[in-house]
């Protein structure tokens, strides 16, 4: 029979092994004691067949079991402990651990039409850029939102997690315990939902995990709906806020226009003018026509003065009188036009122009605010973003195995790290 014990001349596995062995001696004796007691119990329950007619008694169960366990017990304690951990891990992850069912769906967030800024470009790949980045940005928002307490309350608690994800005696680690607090439920919910936006494509992968297929599928579907509602609700909320603001602006512009119109009308009534600018222009045209006539008469007068030696002749005097009268009239009209005691058209035109401009500005402001309010009203009602489903969720038929392998390999990895770092550290500490 092959002896499995370590040879006496073999060097210890690591420097601190002697110390560990001393510490592990009680453990070894405890294990041996337990084994001995167990086999004794089995032996007492199933006594060996009594030998008949002096035949040699066959070895008992306890001794046989002890013999079979001897090679195991002779293993170095760290190896024994590591073996126990690996065995326990394998039993849990591949035997005891409850099935997990994963449901995955993929989607992308798109606008109804490509933004005008993208345009046509020589760089074909950049065409998809803004849309992809927009989807990625939405995906990052969704990764936070879909695991938020609000969504948990609205979606996860609706699925009655204490039943659908309930723990059972077989696997005490999986599931949500009965009477879990809100924080525990939130932490558990966050372990069941994974939202992963893909950088390069903008595709958002939504994965949900459940202890049975249907809850996992329902959770995924509800989260997809929640994502769609969220994106449009955010935009519609923004538009609604903008609409309220725009309506306030419309009201303000309307009041401003009313005020400006009233002031302008009052001013015109006070000055008995329908249109001061036109009155001023009319007065100016009148003086201009008088001046034109004056020039004609002066030319005529000069001509007559050359024809008649005596300037007091009736022909000349008649024209001269007309010239004098026209000059007086022009002078009087001019003085009345700008004189505060007269028509005072300069002031009236200046003030009238100011009031008219104010009225025009108020009209434009009202037009703009009415347009903005109308646009906001439309945006609050229309769907701004579309969640395009690339892969719909399906009810899983097979359990997910990745968590089992991840858990088992994680245990193995931790053991390897403990061994590697431990022997390295002991090698440093015990160096000579």
């Amino acid at each position: 029979m092959i002896q499995f014990s370590r040879p006496k001349f073999a060097r210890p596995l690591f420097r601190g092994e002697q110390g560990v062995r001393k510490l592990a001696a009680p453990l070894r004796s405890l294990v041996s004691g337990l084994l001995h007691r167990t086999t004794s119990l089995i032996t007492s329950l199933r006594p060996d067949e009594p030998d008949s007619e002096g035949q040699a008694q066959a070895p008992g169960l306890s001794s046989r079991l002890r013999d079979r366990m001897q090679p195991v017990l002779r293993l170095p304690v760290p190896v024994l402990l590591a073996g126990v951990v690996v065995l326990g891990s394998a039993i849990y992850f591949f035997g005891v651990g409850r099935n997990r069912y994963q449901v995955q769906s993929s989607f992308i967030v798109r606008l109804p039409e490509a933004p005008a800024t993208t345009g046509s470009t020589l760089l074909g790949t950049t065409l998809a850029g803004p849309t992809m980045l927009g989807s990625l940005e939405d995906g990052r928002f969704l990764a936070v939102y879909l695991t938020s307490p609000e969504v948990m309350k609205r979606v996860f608690l609706r699925l009655q997690p204490e039943t659908a994800w309930a723990r059972n005696l077989r696997d005490p680690f999986a599931g949500l315990r009965r009477g879990a607090t809100f924080d525990e439920k939130l932490a558990f919910f966050r372990r069941q939902v994974f939202v992963i936006p893909q950088d390069l494509t903008g595709v958002i992968n939504l994965t949900t995990v459940g202890l049975s297929p249907t809850p996992s599928y329902r959770l995924n579907s509800l989260l997809l709906q929640e994502a769609e509602v969220f994106m449009n609700r955010v935009n519609q909320n923004i538009s609604a806020t903008q609409q309220t603001f725009a309506e306030t602006e419309v009201q303000r512009a309307r009041e401003r226009l009313d005020k400006a119109s009233l002031a302008f009308n009052t001013f015109k009534n006070e000055n008995r003018e329908i249109n001061p600018s036109q009155s001023a222009a009319g007065a100016s045209n009148y003086i201009t026509s008088l001046e034109s006539k004056l020039v004609d008469l002066k030319v005529q007068e000069a001509s007559l003065k050359r024809q008649f030696k005596d300037h007091s002749t009736p022909e000349v005097a008649y024209i001269t009188d007309q010239v004098d009268e026209l000059q007086r009239q022009i002078s009087e009209e001019r003085s009345q036009l700008v004189n505060p005691e007269g028509k005072d058209l300069n002031r009236i035109v200046a003030e009238g122009s100011k009031l008219e401009t104010e009225t025009l500005l108020a009209t434009e402001a009202l037009k703009s605010s009415i347009t903005a309010a109308d646009n906001s009203r439309q945006r609050t009602q229309q769907q701004v973003k579309f969640l395009v489903r690339l892969a719909d969720p399906e009810v899983p038929q097979l359990q997910a195995m990745d968590w089992r392998w991840k858990g088992f390999l994680g245990t193995l990895g931790v053991l390897i790290v403990l061994w590697g770092i431990g022997t390295f550290a002991l090698g440093i500490v015990d160096r000579r």
Binding site: I2, F4, R6, A10, R11, L13, F14, R15, P71, P76, V79, F194, I196, P197, Q198, D199, L200, W405, K406, G407, F408, L409, G410, T411, L412, G413, V414, I416, V417, G420, I421, T423, F424, G427, I428, R431, R432
Partner: protein, 280 residues
């Protein structure tokens, strides 16, 4: 059949483990005795090298995108495995001659010496990576590794890849010294710039990405980062390709070693690969 009995195989494996551990411990003591800082230097020297590279990268070009993980951890996940890989491969190429006096003991073979060296380097760089992981976790006060099992096994895979490539190069380099010289230069210089240490594979344009993805270390490094955060984008990276390289390099190395072991006992001092001489 006795030679395949589990107990026999297990006892032999444990014996082999003890031998390799003993060689690693001897190497640790030699390093500690040789270095100016003693045993602290064994750990501190590679740490200083990596921290210098990290500082250069961060101060010269910024730490990079912190969307997916702590930038220092992201950089450490590139530097630490790569330096471990390069050290293991280069030590394997040149480490047999240094331990030639050990082969007086019949139980010890050159392969044990190489495995001991690789184990020690794996322990040193594993400790360094653990420091970075735990430091990042303490800084952010949350677990920074989503899939620790994958991270550990990928790290071990990179160590095995270095060992396999070093072992293959060692044997081939005995017959063709130019290969050993070229591999040393290649490991230190070319691979440093093509192993996704300073950049993420997703930053590489589609046109050039397939060229980078020939390098299995780039796959290993990016997979390690993805093990920390599954959302980390790794377009074109394949675990199958990486493990194929690991198994292939180890298999090829052991195959050529088995057929050419006697070459390593006849130490030719004139062919010192470690000194960079390309042979006569």
């Amino acid at each position: 059949m006795r030679s395949l009995a589990p107990r026999y195989v297990l006892s032999k494996l444990l014996l082999q483990l003890r031998v390799v551990s003993a060689v690693a411990r001897r190497e640790l003591q030699l390093r500690a005795a040789k270095g100016a800082m003693g045993v602290v230097g064994v750990f501190a020297e590679p740490l200083a090298l990596i921290v210098t590279f990290l500082a250069l990268r961060i101060f010269l070009r910024g730490a990079g995108d912190a969307t997916y993980m702590n930038p220092a951890l992201w950089l450490a996940l590139g530097f630490v495995p790569f330096f471990m890989f390069a050290e293991i491969a280069i030590k394997a190429i040149g480490g047999v001659d240094k331990n030639s006096e050990l082969y007086f003991y019949r139980r010890l073979r050159p392969l044990d010496s190489l495995m001991g060296n690789s184990l020690l380097l794996g322990q040193i760089y594993g400790s360094l990576l653990l420091v970075f992981v735990l430091g990042s976790a303490a800084w952010e006060w949350r677990p920074v590794v989503q899939d620790p099992g994958a991270l550990i096994f990928l790290f071990l895979g990179l160590a095995l890849l270095g060992f396999g490539i070093g072992l293959s190069t060692l044997i081939v380099g005995r017959r063709l010294p130019l290969v050993a010289w070229f591999m040393q230069m290649f490991l230190r210089r070319i691979l440093l710039w093509t192993s996704c240490i300073f950049f993420s594979i997703s930053f590489i344009p589609d046109v050039f990405r397939p060229w980078i993805l020939w390098n299995p270390i780039a796959h290993g490094v990016e997979l390690m980062r993805a093990a920390c955060n599954p959302a980390y984008p790794i377009p074109g990276v394949s675990a199958f390709y990486f493990w194929g390289w690991v198994v292939g390099s180890i298999g090829f190395g052991l195959l050529v070693y088995g057929n050419n072991e006697s070459l390593l006992f006849a130490v030719d001092k004139s062919v010192s690969v470690d000194s960079g001489v390309d042979g006569d």
